[in-house]
Symmetry: C2
Subunit: 434 residues, 2 copies
């Protein structure tokens, strides 16, 4: 390691001797800056985002130097090449982070919007005002760009944030956070609006998720293992999805071309994303025609096919699917395929095995489409559409901080609105209750 | 106890030998009936509510007989007269329960409503559909009418419910549940849409709040102790408020008459409700004028006054408020009063001590009113209005299942909408992602 890098690393690794006291201080700073950012003007929030975007561009050399420390440590610790790729901060990636913040600045500010203001028989007027949630805790893994994205979305929605990135990106995240604090200060906003946990001690995560007095909601971004651990131990609400076991159901009344196009695209457009189809359901009356066309297409792409008994009898290309296959998120060129006898059976299968992320039906029948839309209990339910469309940008949210499969609050892609809530406001003129 | 009552009691107390197996069965029945009630038509849900309303009226004698068992046991166990009063089912109260269900039937059905359907540049159309949450668990104390109210609201909003009432109302609740099941059956809906826990074993509550696979959200209704215990141990989201420490702030620019009327009404209209004012803040410049008028009024009503140092110097009627007074929900004719120097100081006090339930400002100044509305982070924020208005009926929700001071999902009075959520729906025509 060069002496410059070593020096930087030393400066940034102030040792934290009392974790409890440190986390308490972080929490209190977050709470007090949350009050300030909640009442900040649209102009100052957007200025901060612009200044941070600029600071990232101006700090390219510093960012890449800090990133080198992480990359060297990662190589020394035997991180896989894929992990190292995710971790690396190139000029292009820094440009994208910066551009992402400018896009967030351009989004409509949700805060303060009053809706549903109505007069009541008593004479009072009652409405709802959109307000920030308060303090958002973000816990994430390797990619350092999440630091800028998450901080930007929380800032724009009037929330303070406490960020805890992966230890493998520790120095990169700290360098990015410096740019964020610089931008906040330039816009006259408290630097503690965004805080990053200054230790790689894993116990800090345990503290973060059990501080309801300081953190209002936790958003984990990472693998299923991380999210399961956090959900299990959290004492504050968690906005999350565990996995994406997404289905496409090709109905009896599907248009042939749409069925082929959507099934192929939902699986092969990208394998590692949570909105990729993992199980294809096909009405048995259409099985031969569909499989004759689809199987060679998947084969050509190298997609391994695992089928139900009836599928296997169609083509020797199918391996036998086990019960586990129906509840597995492959994130890989593997697809499980099942033939069903009716839309009911398709919905039953989805009810049993779907992770309630995204499920799509291919049909030309209006009543069946309507039934599927109403009865499938997933955060996104689609008709004649590739599951790959399930994300905040495609839905017009402008950005997303994650996707929720929870039953309360935000469901589906979570953008700025999911980082806010509504309180009631009541306007009277000396009204008293009789 | 008469033999008739004894007989009824015996019949209704089937012993549950394996609590885990019993709760698992309840959970599975709830989950499967949730699917059916979610897709039930508006007509059949309203018919069920009508039939239940009628069944309650037809079962008056049975309901009162079951209630007698509870009342006799309550007296034997030394319940206070106030508790016994709350427990008692009179003809009037049965009529009110029945009427309440008819009112719920008359409310607009929120389910299936599609909003914000927009076309996206890709060609897909994206909107949001309002859907039930799934299975709601309600845990409550003595009043048996909660059984009918809660079941009715869950039913109308397309949710299955699992009810656990206070053990002191066990037989009354079972008798009411019989009427509910009768009504559901008459409307062709599954009787297990509403289930009541058939045991007074306290361990059943511990199970209920840790069954995320069967219950999606818990709504506790009762004292602070109950709600704290539930929140602490729950493994599913809880919609709740712990207490109502509500403030009225009389600003420098308050209209005198409105200040007096609202302060008096907020405290004295009812003492035991969560939206009753517990602390009055007064701008010091108006203190003499306001206190000269208000103190005799409160005195006449027997309201004990506890004041800050400056208050005490105004009148010997004030006792010295301790630090604890500012964070105490009296639910009694006691009021703490503090003089402040500015709206900032009032907001700071509220930020520190409010339970984020309901806080009101009295002012004629538009900018100050606007600031208070934006910056006070409570579920209801009011201008020139008595805090006693903070409830679902007054806000036009038609009914309420509780009041939430949570930061996510429903905030403030929770009516039918708070028992639902929105999923994304996506309509394409064979659209694939590029």
């Amino acid at each position: 390691m060069s002496s410059v890098i070593q020096n930087l690393a030393d400066n940034e690794s102030a040792s934290i001797t009392d974790l409890n006291a440190y986390m308490k201080a972080v929490g209190e700073l977050a709470r007090s800056s949350a009050r300030e950012i909640a009442r900040a003007s649209i102009g100052s929030k957007n200025l901060a985002l612009e200044e941070i975007a600029q600071a990232l561009l101006s700090a390219k050399v510093k960012l890449k130097t800090a990133n080198l420390i992480d990359l060297e440590a990662g190589r020394a610790n035997g991180l896989s090449q894929a992990m190292l790729d995710r971790l690396a901060l190139s000029d292009d990636r820094i440009n994208s982070m910066s551009e992402g913040l400018r896009q967030i600045a351009a989004l409509e500010d949700p805060i303060g919007k009053v809706t549903d203001l109505v007069s009541r028989p008593s004479g009072i007027r009652v409405g709802r005002m959109r307000v920030p949630i308060g303090v958002i805790g973000i816990i994430y893994e390797s990619r350092p760009n999440v630091t800028a994205d998450a901080a930007g979305l929380c800032l724009k929605s009037g929330n303070a944030s406490v960020l805890r990135g992966g230890s493998e990106a520790f120095h990169s995240n700290k360098a990015i956070t410096k740019c964020i604090k610089l931008g906040l200060a330039k816009a006259g906003l408290p630097a503690e609006t965004v805080q990053i946990i200054q230790t790689t001690d894993r116990a800090a995560v345990g503290k973060m998720i059990t501080m309801p007095e300081s953190i209002d909601v936790i958003i984990p971004r990472g693998g299923k293992g991380l999210i399961e651990r956090i959900s299990k131990d959290a004492r504050v609400p968690v906005i999350k999805h565990l996995d994406g076991i997404c289905h496409v159901y090709i109905d009896e009344f599907a248009n042939f071309k749409k069925a082929i196009d959507v099934s192929f695209n939902s699986k092969t457009q990208r394998y590692g994303t949570c909105n990729t189809m993992e199980t294809l359901l096909i009405h048995q009356s259409r099985a031969k025609e569909i499989l004759d066309e689809l199987v060679p297409l998947y084969e050509k792409e190298g997609v391994e096919l695992r089928g139900c008994e009836r599928c296997v009898s169609f083509s020797s290309i199918f391996k036998n699917a086990s019960e586990d296959d129906w509840s597995t998120e492959y994130l890989a060129p593997i697809l499980s395929v099942r033939l069903v006898d009716s839309v009911e059976m398709a919905i039953d299968h989805i009810e049993m095995y779907s992770s309630r992320h995204t499920d799509s039906i291919i049909t030309q029948d209006l009543s069946i489409a309507d039934r599927f839309l109403r009865e499938v209990d997933s955060s996104s339910v689609m008709v004649n559409t590739s599951t790959r469309f399930a994300d905040g940008f495609e839905y017009g949210l402008g950005a997303e901080i994650g996707i929720s499969t929870d039953k309360l609050h935000a469901r589906g892609p979570v953008g700025l609105e999911g980082l806010t809530n509504q309180k009631y406001i009541v306007l009277g003129d000396g009204h008293i209750r009789q």
